[in-house]
Symmetry: C2
Subunit: 458 residues, 2 copies
């Protein structure tokens, strides 16, 4: 990066908010994927005005900007490109307001999601979105990916809680979108364009989120199914029994075996699937609901159902699910964690196709996911040092994405497109929709400096 | 409209789908507002392809298009302009699919909202959005205005249920946006641009909506408050008691008196406010919740609380609320029904300001609304034949809109901008946001044929 640009950024932000030392750059060269790539420079703005100053300078000099929260993204969305400025938002980590009267919170983008959750729960409120990265990932990153998690069937995704956004566009223009009310039809809903746009349209500098009363209780059941298809059917049957579950987590046999290899929990590894179901809400109601869930699970073909009657018992049932990620990580040197989503009725068929794709490409594929909203995380085990294996991984990944699209689903439910799925976007989206998405990109970022090479194919 | 254009439209659609007779045009000259304006021609497409054909011809000939559902809009959004084609979508009224397995429905834009509600309720499902016009208004119109209603605090607005849209742009380009899954972060969320855009960006030709299990029961309480501010505070107190009410309908003294003049229900017209609160869900839980609501209402300063312990008793309590519209309509020759929304904590202050604005302008103003989401419907009584009165009405309307904005609210919660509030948009929205909204309009409708003169100021 040329010296004049560095001098201008330093003058605008102060020397302590601009990093160019190699050891600093190295710390921002990775994300939650297996790629890495160093930025030329990292800036650490602490105000909207400082973000705007960076985006003014970057626009004038046509320097790419890569916004970054905690760097937990799994699709490469926050990976810096060579020649780029990494815009580190982690220092903008203040909760500016929690209003019990208006049941909302106003936060800076660098607030860690679980910090917000704990803060609002202290006063009896609840922020439901709960991506797996919740203890590290930031609210800005959650907005940028429209982060989901296991609770979406009942509570929706991050975007469903965003009432207002302040965003900064390339060139430093600040836009205030939405506000503090649930209903607002003055103007177009531009804020939704930014939610899930992975930093390619602008930088989120402030967020207003809706809160709800904290549910009083939560209970869990765990069922083992000889047939995976029955576990998938059970979720629909639970809804038909008028219970909207908080969580419906499927683990296939491969996932179960990985967990059992990691921790001896005594899981029934001869079964095809485990299904973890949780309900939340009124303390008395959840007791009745978890009993209904238990009955439905038996009726749906479960060979074993364990129901927690206390928080402690619920925690024990969660242990298998919580161990999935570290357990899978031990199975191979590398793993590709995928994120396909299909309509709920197609989950069983999709899991069968995922297993078939694994067999056909001679790869170990384990599958788990939030099946109430059709969101599956097939994980392909591999070794990145072996180019032949990686060729099969790439082929299998392409096949499983297209299988999801064929079944009426989507390439990504919650991880985003980033750089990893760019090649498949054109096969998945309507060509006219894609053309107007490119128009939106050009409207908000005419010189293409915002996180270039991500989200939309060139 | 020139003969060649009429011939081209007739050739594309068939003569029975093109109306030019004066008596036909007159039937499409009004909406739910007090304005009227005849289109030059009405087309009645029955397929997406026919909509596309109309929009191709209109684009080539630069003829304005005014999409229309049931014409129940209150802001003039579907009022035809002279020289325009009224695009009547009422014949596209088929429910294409109801999937219990995927808990969704696919509908054409002309489906009447309550027809969808009844169809899904027959199989135990629920489509929550419930605008007052639900027995007449169409799903396409509900999407175009992002229609709300009384249930939004608990269940959200129309847009929160839209999973996918098919839209047709000026020029006839068809875009398929979103799909059949709750989670989907492939591409930008363009569908949200169309939701609430009042037909100014394109025509919604197909809608996929999310459904939920139908709540088993609903119960209601009605409280009379000597002080209106206490009624407003009560809603926050209900939430703090961990009950998310289905409905929190406020009626001020003027509204109560209008209802009492219309029907002798024995309402306590010496009180400042009535508050109707309903809860829905599990049958046993709603009994406990309505008891909690009752306690909170007493504790909040109610002088009288009536609680329904059965569906029949609930219905009786609803009678006052259901009578509001016809009762107010009897008070004066004309009424201007407004639709401001403020943060929940500002509702009491906003109602006080509304009464003050009424007094200062020597106008009778009655106020009711969905106060859980801060949405108030102040109604200004007037006689349109008296220009002096109408001058005061216009002044008062401007003042009340600006009062909402000053309190952190918005010009319109659910009715839309249409043509009635155009003059106030620039005072309410961030100027940069407005500039990019104009850019979005130009991107999707470069020749400005889609419902011109609505939603955004020129």
């Amino acid at each position: 990066m040329d010296a004049a640009a560095i001098a201008e950024l330093t003058a605008a932000l102060g020397a302590d908010r601009v990093s160019i030392a190699a050891e600093d750059l190295a710390a921002y060269a990775y994300d939650g994927s297996w790629m890495d790539s160093r930025p030329d420079l990292v800036v650490h703005p602490q105000t909207t005005e400082q973000i705007a100053a960076v985006l003014r300078i970057a626009e004038a000099r046509r320097i790419p900007i890569v916004p970054r929260g905690a760097g937990t993204g799994l699709a490469g969305g926050s990976l810096p490109a060579a020649g780029s400025i990494c815009l580190n938002l982690a220092r903008m980590n203040r909760i500016l307001e929690i209003s019990a009267a208006d049941t909302l919170a106003v936060v800076q983008p660098g607030v860690v999601t679980n910090d917000l959750q704990r803060a609002v729960e202290r006063i009896g409120l609840f922020y439901p979105p709960d991506p797996a990265s919740v203890y590290q990932s930031t609210m800005g990153g959650n907005v940028a990916t429209n982060a989901g998690g296991p609770r979406c069937l009942k509570y929706g995704v991050t975007g469903d809680y965003v009432l207002g956004l302040e965003v900064v566009l390339a060139g430093g223009h600040v836009l205030r979108l939405g506000g503090r009310t649930i209903k607002d039809v003055a103007g177009y809903d531009l804020k939704r364009l930014f939610i899930g746009s992975e930093g390619t349209l602008g930088v989120v500098s402030q967020i207003i989120v809706r809160l709800i009363p904290k549910p009083a209780a939560q209970l869990t059941a765990l069922a083992a199914f000889p047939r995976l298809a029955d576990a998938c059917q059970a979720v629909g049957a639970i809804l038909q029994a008028d219970v909207i579950p908080l969580v419906t987590e499927l683990m296939d046999q491969g996932t179960m075996r990985a967990v059992e290899e990691f921790k001896r929990l005594g899981l029934p590894t001869e079964m095809e699937a485990l299904l973890l179901v949780a309900v939340d809400g009124d303390a008395e109601l959840v007791k009745r609901e978890i009993a209904i869930v238990g009955e439905v699970l038996w009726r749906s073909g479960a060979a074993e159902v364990r129901q927690a009657s206390s928080v402690a018992e619920s925690e024990a049932l969660w242990e298998a699910r919580r161990s999935v990620s570290p357990a899978i990580a031990r199975l191979a040197r590398n793993k590709l964690g995928e994120d396909v989503t299909v309509p709920r009725s197609k989950v069983a068929e999709m899991v069968a196709r995922l297993h078939e794709i694994g067999r056909a490409n001679d790869l170990r594929v384990v599958v788990y996911g939030h099946i109430g909203d059709g969101n599956l995380h097939p994980t392909l085990l591999c070794d990145r040092r072996d180019p032949e294996v990686m060729q099969r991984v790439e082929k299998a990944a392409g096949e499983l994405l297209m299988a999801a699209v064929e079944l009426g689903g989507t390439l990504t439910g919650e991880h985003g497109i980033g750089i990893f799925k760019l090649d498949h976007v054109a096969d998945a989206l309507d060509p006219n929709a894609l053309a107007w998405m490119a128009g939106v990109k050009a409207l908000f970022d005419p010189h293409g400096i915002m996180n270039p090479g991500k989200k939309l194919p060139a």
